[in-house]
């Protein structure tokens, strides 16, 4: 493939990954969050495939298939089941309101561009233009975790963060060794399962999945 076109496609796919993450800040329902996460993972698959096709690295096809299976199919399904089970749908009072969250996300993206500048400058791969975007997805995931109250949203924030790291790995180094990749997938899957159990327990104890209520444990 023409390297310039390829670089553009990779950057386009990474910006779409970032955009689908930003959708989480703008929507209010957990169902929409889960949908946005599934879309983001799917776009991550697309980005991985673009890199795989152009670099000719066979391993990346496998990674893309794994991402698809784990993050597009299994985890969203698990999350949906949890959401139905705990009967929560709205992220009602986030710690930071929507317009402020969006502006902070914009500032974080700027920060990502500034921080990643040396990385982009020394990078030799044609995909280096997307590195700041991947870093921005990482920051965005962290921000979702700290600014939202619902335990489920925080899980989704963690998964967005993870997606950002995966995107960064693909763009910056054409993927990490397969054994590491497999370990990460297993980690994420188990992490989600464990967190799901936690969400059930929180819900049983407090009748809500608002983590703010966890303060009550102190008394």
């Amino acid at each position: 493939m023409n390297p310039e076109l390829f670089a553009r496609l990779a950057t386009l796919a990474s910006s779409l990954v970032l955009l689908s993450g930003l959708a989480i800040l703008w929507r209010h329902s957990l169902q929409a969050y889960i949908g946005a996460f599934a879309r983001q993972s799917f776009l991550l698959v697309v980005a991985t495939l673009v890199v795989a096709v152009s670099s000719g690295d066979r391993r990346l096809y496998l990674v893309a298939a794994l991402i698809f299976a784990v993050k597009v199919v299994v985890i969203p399904r698990l999350l949906r089941r949890t959401q139905v089970h705990v009967a929560a749908d709205l992220e009602i009072h986030p710690y930071v309101n929507t317009p402020a969250s969006l502006l902070i996300a914009g500032a974080l993206t700027l920060l990502a561009y500034v921080v990643a500048e040396p990385l982009v400058a020394i990078g030799a791969l044609p995909t280096r233009g997307g590195i700041p975007l991947a870093l921005a997805v990482v920051f965005l995931g962290l921000f979702i975790v700290i600014s939202r109250r619902s335990a489920l949203t925080q899980i989704i924030g963690f998964l967005v963060l993870e997606n950002g790291i995966a995107l960064l790995a693909v763009l910056a180094t054409y993927g990490v060794p397969l054994i590491v990749e497999l370990g990460v997938f297993l980690d994420v899957l188990l992490g989600v399962l464990v967190m799901q159990v936690f969400v059930y327990r929180i819900r049983e104890t407090f009748d809500t999945i608002d983590v703010d209520r966890l303060r009550d444990l102190k008394h």
């Binding site: 076109l5 553009r8 496609l9 950057t11 386009l12 910006s15 779409l16 970032l18 955009l19 930003l22 703008w26 929507t98 317009p99 969006l102 502006l103 996300a105 914009g106 993206t109 700027l110 561009y113 500034v114 500048e117 982009v120 233009g129 700041p132 975007l133």
Partner: protein, 314 residues
């Protein structure tokens, strides 16, 4: 660059004549999509003629601002329209300013419209003015940022130069910054021209109206001017979006063949954007007023990302 009288006259005629048609087309297509028969596409012309013939009723409490506003709004919309490259890449008034002048003219019109909403001291007028200004305060920076994205690539804030640069070899559609800027501008367009997620142009329901609330006190000739100006504003925004994002077909030289192609391309692009607006207005419900700033912040954010990625990565 010179001021060409013929091109000014031609584009004025194009704006004045086609703007109501665009409004009529959108109303008609929207009705068709919703399984209604809908008004005929010529209806806006009939409405304008009817308004022009009617007598005016002006409140005795109205000051000079009330009668001054329709002229200002109409003329700013018209002259802003003459700054947008529509058929020829060289816009008739491009000599007088670029993007900043365009946004400034539109803001001037809005300022007077908001004043006249307050002028007669009707409760709805004031409410409409306050809402309009609230929305504009966020929509304007988003629009500037979005246009700056293309301006940075072109190296000039002159709209004609931007269009010419867009036709050059260095441009592509796949550039994420341009796609982001396009989406941001589209949201701004919906907000600035009072389309559905932000304002509903088809209703006079007190709770929701924004633009209509400011026009409530107007009748007759003044109402015709204001309606016509609103249609021109919509037309010029669509044309701006079409020609900045997809600058193909715009005539570089005023040769007859190129002009015909350019006119056809412009109409096609406008029709495509109009279809997008129609589908969106049918699919999406109007947002609660308090969620409108969120939508506009999204637009601002997209524009910011667009500028960042076109400015920092080079």
């Amino acid at each position: 660059m010179s001021v060409n009288v013929v091109s000014i006259l031609a584009q004025t005629a194009l704006l004045l004549l086609l703007a109501p048609l665009l409004g009529g087309l959108i109303k008609n297509w929207k009705a068709k999509l919703q399984n209604r028969r809908g008004p005929r596409i010529w209806q806006p012309y009939h409405d304008l003629i009817k308004f022009l013939r009617k007598d005016m009723v002006i409140s005795e409490h109205a000051s000079w601002i009330f009668s001054f506003t329709p002229n200002v709004v109409f003329l700013t919309a018209l002259s802003a329209g003459l700054m947008v490259p529509m058929v020829t890449a060289q816009a008739p008034l491009s000599l007088f300013g670029g993007v900043l002048a365009l946004v400034g003219l539109i803001a001037l019109g809005r300022f007077f419209l908001a004043l006249s909403g307050l002028d007669t001291a009707s409760a709805f007028g004031g409410m409409g003015s306050s809402r309009e200004v609230t929305i504009a305060a966020i929509a304007e920076p988003a629009m500037m940022l979005a246009i700056f994205t293309v301006a940075i690539t072109a190296g000039s804030t002159n709209l004609s130069r931007i269009v010419l640069a867009g036709q050059g070899p260095g441009s592509t559609l796949l550039d994420p910054s341009h796609a982001l800027a396009f989406i941001a501008m589209f949201i701004v367009l919906l907000a600035e021209t009072g389309r559905i997620p932000v304002d509903n142009p088809a209703t006079h329901l007190e709770l929701t109206m924004i633009h209509e609330a400011m026009l409530l006190e107007y009748s007759g000739r003044y109402l015709a001017l204001l309606e016509w100006a609103a249609q021109m504003k919509f037309f010029l925004f669509l044309a701006l979006l079409a020609n900045l994002a997809l600058p193909w077909g715009v005539a570089r030289e005023p040769a007859p063949g190129a002009l015909a192609v350019a006119l056809g391309a412009l109409l096609l692009k406008l029709a495509a954007l109009a279809v997008a607006v129609v589908v969106l207005e049918t699919r999406v419900a109007k947002l609660r007023l308090f969620r409108v700033p969120e939508l506009l912040v999204v637009s601002f954010l997209l524009a910011l990302l667009a500028v960042t990625s076109s400015f920092l990565v080079r």
